[in-house]
Amino acid sequence: MRGVQLAELTGTAPSGVEAALDVVAGFDGALLQGLGRLDATGTSALAGLAGAVAATPLGPRVAEAVEKITAGSIADDSLALLAGARSALLGAVHDALLAQLDAARGRERRPWTPPAGGAPEGSAGAAAPGGEGPLAGARSWLTEVAITGWRGVDADSVAAAAQVVSGLLAAPGRRRLAVLLDGLVAELRAGSPLVTLDRVPARRWGDLWSRAVLLARPGDGAPSGGNPAGTNDGATDGGDAVPAGPGGSGGETVSGRLLVLGVDVHEHPTAVQAQVHAILEPTGGAPSRLVRTSVAAAKVDTVLGPTMWQLLGDHPVLLGALAHGVGLEVTDLVLRPGGDLIWRDDRARPAEPADPFAVARVQLGDVLADGAPPLDRHPAGIAEPVLLEGYTASRDSDGGVTFDVDGTAIGATIDRLPTCGPLTPELVAASSACIGLLRWDAGRWLVQPLAVQVATKRKTTVAQTGDWALGADGPRASKAAKATDAVSVLRERAGRLLRR
């Protein structure tokens, strides 16, 4: 991406974004306060939310829900409508930002469409017997939290949430909600006692709460038909009956050559996910597609750094591609609408070496991208692969790194360099080319490095987040790996103690 294209992004925000986010901030403030103890500010914030979606199909129902809540009657269904309205606003912001990005780089993006021939609605729920119990538990916990506000969450409430999470983890098809709630609960626990916490991350916890409310709706495992988040401002899709999300199988079957651009690693105390961004060259000569493929595992907080890759060891072909920089031949994988390629290691084999920078240079410019599934439309989910070259990187006074690309400045997210890979702020600051993900948070575009090129007098070296996927080497890696192997120690302890 050129500096002049970046300048189109970093210049001005699309119109309406700030106003929409002000409405969201108002709601987040009410949630912080507790919907059971609203003052005039909180009441008017809820009215503002209802007003913002008034012209959409959600409008009348949200208005009714707000009326009930301000009158003191707070039920799961009303809260789901508020969460839906909030998500619809952020979905519209997501769409506007992505449209701005696509316009700047001239990218074609196919709008999301419901999977053709996908599983009938309700099938995921049918495949998840007993899934309703934990869901009901999740809903009642989320309702209680909304009533008391974040500072009202006490040790008993956190303990209750832990029970809900363990039920969800055991229920098939509820992994998304389980992982989300577990991450939120870990933060609530770490902030305890919340009543005296300096400051509450209102937007963040509002995001997590809203998403959880929508994922905890009864019915099929997928947030599906009638899900309020499926309805946005009507500008990009007017539909409201849209199956999506977990268990929402369906999609097309694809084969071809998969060329890795880089891997984005996510983790919280009890989960890790490696999300590989890649270009799929379908067999038969159809246009190349920008895809993601994700593998995830449960973990404990003491498993960190390069050890995390061991938990993903069921996918040696994929990890090998990351570690050795080779392309992959894949056969009959499911590609969901939205661009998620569902990984099967037994249907992939290594192909010839593929340099991600060469791939990005040749193919990233005009690859076909997919629009996000309705529920996933949120600015925090924006992660668009980008190649930046020929920039000057500099260290900021606060330790950050900024790239100057043909006179346009963009910050690098040096706090998103995964602990399981070799990228450091120093390497990023010394780099002259970068494959990264464009991110957006609180009004700013940023680039999250996945791979950097560092040119020295003698040669150019490349460092990538996935370099250590099959094990670490080098001084920094061995230092990180020197910490005792947490997985084996815990398994040993578990083995001895559980036998007694």
């Binding site: 593998v295 995830a296 938990l311």
Partner: protein, 172 residues
Amino acid sequence: MDADAVAPEGGAADWERRSVVPMLPVARPRKLSKVPFVEMADGALQGVVSSGSDISRVYVSAITAGSHEASCSTNNNRPCGGGGVQCNHIWALVDEAVERFGLHRVARFLQVDLEESDTYGGALIRRMRPKPGPKVAARVFSRFLAHLTYLEVPATVEPLPELHWFPSGVGR
């Protein structure tokens, strides 16, 4: 201000409007052989400490936030030989908690007022002067076993889009 908890960037209003901010202590690798489990939960600093002499025995130690009642016993509820108030296991637990979460976060959770000269876990124990409390071994031990069951949860290839809120490396 708890320096471990949040790294302020930009104004307060900006921070409150960010979707991704570090809310957990920076995780550092630590040796697990001595204290395989430590957490601040259920209103107590609690954990499991391996016995120094018997490889198949562990002690369950806890200090309650606020009241500073301490207890230490084996997971089968046999009393700890060290008295269970300021025994080696409690010291090991507090040291490990400080290593894991940072001194100020632990002090805030336990509701201990630190002086500026307090820089390590032992100072926390001296300020608290723990007194004997009820046995909590069964509850804490079941938390530890629940913790271990995460290692048994199957891996998945189902995309988890919510993890975009939890990037690796935040707060590092």
